[in-house]
């Protein structure tokens, strides 16, 4: 029973980590709290739903396609909203308000167009068969979630720490002006970061949609709250911190739901947030002024 709960928690936490990684990457490199981010999560889920249900694509193709489409959408929306705000050096509160307004408008539009009701992937897509390892049941969807998370997180870490482009991103995270002096085109890199983070959010949306088989326009909003918990607990801009905090949050939620009460899982998540910030204002793993992207 506990083993099963831990496995479920780990799988849920993997999606939280994936989602939070994009959010923390964006904050770490571009230094904006972009509230539109949650919408890319919703977008990914709906695009995958459309591709599988309406076009009959297999999930193995629809999943990366939905992630890429979410990333492209992020380049467009972020470019429109954030490039100008950064160019005029808008205060942080301004970007918070602009992105909040934009995301509410986007959710409302999506609801009007797609309807507020919960939608589901066709049964043939989710793969109902389950495997058993040592009395722990894991569905095919859960296997996909784990594999996708490992591949995407590994890819992101390899990009950041093993490539020239990653070096430029880390330089830009630390000091965008100095990065410009090195000959780095910071606007182009910002677009790349939008793409990567949008794609991670979109991938997260597909995977959560699969995990619970429930898709509706405001699903990104509930996810954003968790995204905040994960990146703040993990330390703003810290990739490894977000990974660990995401996994922990998933496990805590599943254990709370299983052993205490399912209605309390959000309360527990936010109690942890408050406790962590109260005792360690820089986050669980963060140094005070760090941007370990």
């Amino acid at each position: 029973m506990l083993g099963q709960q831990l496995a479920n928690g780990l799988i849920l936490g993997a999606t939280y980590a994936l989602f939070a990684l994009g959010f923390t990457l964006m904050f770490g490199v571009i230094r904006v709290i972009n509230l539109v981010y949650g919408f890319y999560f919703t977008a990914g889920a709906f695009i995958a739903l459309y591709l599988t249900r309406n076009l009959g694509w297999p999930m193995a193709v629809a999943f990366p396609a939905a992630a890429i489409a979410s990333g492209v959408m992020a380049i467009g929306i972020d470019g429109l909203l954030l490039t100008r705000l950064r160019r005029v050096g808008a205060p942080e509160l301004a970007s918070l308000m602009v992105t909040l307004g934009a995301v509410l408008a986007l959710y409302a539009t999506a609801t009007a167009l797609l309807g507020p009701d919960i939608k589901r992937f066709p049964a043939s897509v989710i793969g109902a068969e389950a495997m058993e390892f040592a009395a722990i049941r894991i569905t095919q969807a859960q296997v996909l979630i784990l594999l996708a998370t490992i591949v995407l997180v590994g890819g992101l870490l390899a990009l950041m720490h093993g490539t020239r482009l990653g070096l430029a991103l880390r330089a830009m995270a630390e000091n965008p002006d100095a990065a410009g002096l090195m000959g780095i085109d910071t606007i182009r890199l910002a677009a790349l970061v939008s793409f990567i983070s949008g794609a991670l959010a979109g991938a997260g949306g597909v995977l959560i949609g699969l995990n619970f088989n429930a898709i509706q326009p405001y699903m990104g909003e509930a996810m954003m709250l968790r995204g905040f918990v994960v990146i703040i607990v993990g330390g703003l801009g810290d990739i490894r911190g977000a990974l660990i905090a995401g996994l922990l949050l998933g496990i805590v939620e599943v254990l709370t739901a299983g052993y205490i009460a399912s209605g309390l899982k959000e309360a527990v998540a936010f109690a942890i947030l408050v406790a962590v910030l109260w005792s360690r204002p820089a986050g669980l793993f963060g140094r005070a002024v760090t941007r370990r992207a």
Partner: protein, 236 residues
């Protein structure tokens, strides 16, 4: 031939006019210094030359092309390189990574390696600390790294914004020795300093900036003996 010609350069931050239309010129192979009190607008001028702030008016002609308003990476690509005020090394990256970033635009690894060897020969301390993060270096070492990083870009014009700021006197001497050595090798340099006596000693030509305007210019020796400069900047 002129490396840099600035005409009527004006920069504002909102309603603050930091530069009110300045003219200056740097000839190839020269060291030109720009001296002035804190807040005179020296850093603003350097940032405008590198494209980090957009000029409100004026022309910046570098190697014959108007670069006013170009984005920083384009200007860096033309060979106008800067050691910014306060060093601004990437503190969380290693010394080697900082140097690699200086040659970001170089696509030929052999060329990058050649430049790195030259920089490390000039600053052996950086070789010893290649795998340490830059934030763990002393102030003097960080300034060497900032120089090395700029030199990795093979500058056709090197901007130095208060390279001696915040350093102990012995290190200040070392910095000016480096500037003299670069000058002897023919590097074209625009040097901003509050340490006016040392700057005027190494420079060929000098400008004095006061609240956004050039109030005096001339051969460095003449500026250094000007009574007003002696009184205001040389502690006379």
């Amino acid at each position: 031939m002129s490396s840099l010609i600035v005409e009527g350069l004006a920069v504002s931050y909102g309603r603050t006019e930091a530069l009110k239309g300045i003219d200056l010129r740097v000839e190839e192979g020269q060291v030109v210094c720009l001296i002035g009190a804190n807040g005179a607008g020296k850093t603003t001028a350097m940032r405008a030359l590198s494209g980090l702030v957009s000029p409100r008016a004026g022309r910046i002609v570098f190697d014959g092309a108007d670069i006013a308003g170009l984005r920083p990476h384009r200007i860096a690509g033309l060979g106008l390189r800067q050691v910014p005020e306060g060093r601004q090394v990437f503190a969380e990256l290693t010394v080697a990574e900082n140097l690699a970033l200086g040659a970001w635009l170089v696509t030929d690894p052999a060329e990058t390696a050649r430049r790195r060897d030259r920089v490390l020969a000039r600053f052996p301390r950086l070789a010893e600390r290649a795998h340490q993060v830059a934030g763990s270096l002393s102030g003097g070492e960080q300034q060497m790294l900032a120089f090395g990083r700029a030199l990795m870009g093979a500058p056709r014009l090197l901007l130095l914004d208060e390279p001696s700021m915040g350093l102990a006197p012995i290190l200040v001497d070392e910095i000016f020795a480096i500037i003299s050595a670069l000058k002897a090798e023919g590097t074209t340099i625009l040097l901003v300093e509050q340490n006016a006596s040392a700057a005027l000693e190494v420079a060929d030509h000098a400008y004095v900036l006061e609240t956004g305007r050039i109030v005096l210019e001339g051969p460095a020796a003449d500026v250094a003996s000007n009574p007003k400069v002696v009184a205001a900047y040389l502690g006379g």
